[in-house]
Assembly symmetry: C2
Homo-oligomer: 196 residues x 2
């Protein structure tokens, strides 16, 4: 196995990258200026040393606590609960939310052996008590595991007299009724909003 | 820009990798065992030092001349001409060809400023004269640039009394007449073969 084959084998392990794509990438890098490969190598080699988990919210960050948790201009009374660190990025890019985050690190999935104790739910309850939270927004995917996890957290938070909300589920913007699945349609009916 | 953003920016420069895919890859690597990132970094850092161009055929290799050019069991009298080093890999994987290769390093494309002198055509003529070649197979893509390049090489080799062939063009195996474009259909008619 030569150096190209080894690189192809490594690229093939990435999600959504098959052997053909891995080969195309490897040859592209070989054809490109060597400085690109060196720069990419450097970034990869230093990645895990530079990036840690925020000790408050659990998202990836270079500084602990992360810039979002320490930003005094953000609304500390609202916590947006997400499954994974990359969800924080997606929500930040939408510029729709200005509170704090909390990363669960997964969803309850008994079939995959993931129980509530594997997730950062205990630390969420501590934060809610300590930070004077008024609203917890569950920004969790509308899947079976997501629904289970949302219901579980909602029940735990019931006693704390705060508002627990969940992202609206329904037709995507630009979507088409004809191509919408039955469950999404059913949710968009149940969650219909009044037009003023 | 933090370490994740820098990695995303670098991945986004790869062909067929948009910002979304680049982000998914970066977070996947961050989530995975750090040994993967280090291994990938190592391979990338050493890639250009390990891989060179074969001084005979022009394909990528760790040893110069490459294992194909030095393999005495291969038919030295047949040269398969390809556009890029990765084409050598594709043909090798098909196990259909047992001769030597010659990599042009591109195709004639006047609009992109690529003329015959930019390609390894001179060295092909030298090899044909020196190696006692009997057949040159032009394994060049059936595109406008490919057709131009094939015609150009064919004319140059005309005087040398060797066989010049080109890969058959026509319906792909498992293909459907209904979904075949007009040019491919036309080529498959002109190249039709007699059934014994």
């Amino acid at each position: 196995m030569n150096a190209i084959d080894r690189l192809v084998a490594l690229f093939s392990k990435l999600p959504g990258i098959g052997k053909k794509t891995a080969t195309r990438l490897a040859y592209h890098i070989l054809d490109a200026d060597p400085s690109y490969a060196l720069l990419l190598a450097e970034q990869l080699a230093s990645l895990h040393a530079l990036i840690k988990r925020c000790s408050i919210c659990g998202s990836f960050t270079e500084a602990d606590p992360c810039p979002i948790c320490t930003d005094q201009d953000r609304d500390a009374a609202t916590i947006c609960v997400v499954e994974r660190p990359q969800d924080v990025r997606v929500i930040e890019e939408s510029r729709e939310f200005h509170g704090r985050f909390h990363v669960l690190g997964g969803l309850i999935a008994p079939l995959d052996g993931i129980s509530p104790s594997d997730l950062a739910i205990g630390s969420l309850l501590s934060r809610v008590r300590a930070e004077g939270t008024r609203e917890v927004i569950l920004a969790i995917n509308p899947t079976v595991e997501g629904d289970t996890t949302a219901l579980y957290i909602q029940k735990l938070l019931k006693e704390s007299h705060l508002i627990v909300t969940r992202l609206a589920s329904g037709l995507p913007v630009g979507g088409d009724l004809e191509y919408t699945d039955r469950l999404t349609l059913s949710r968009s009916f149940r969650g219909r909003v009044k037009i003023d």
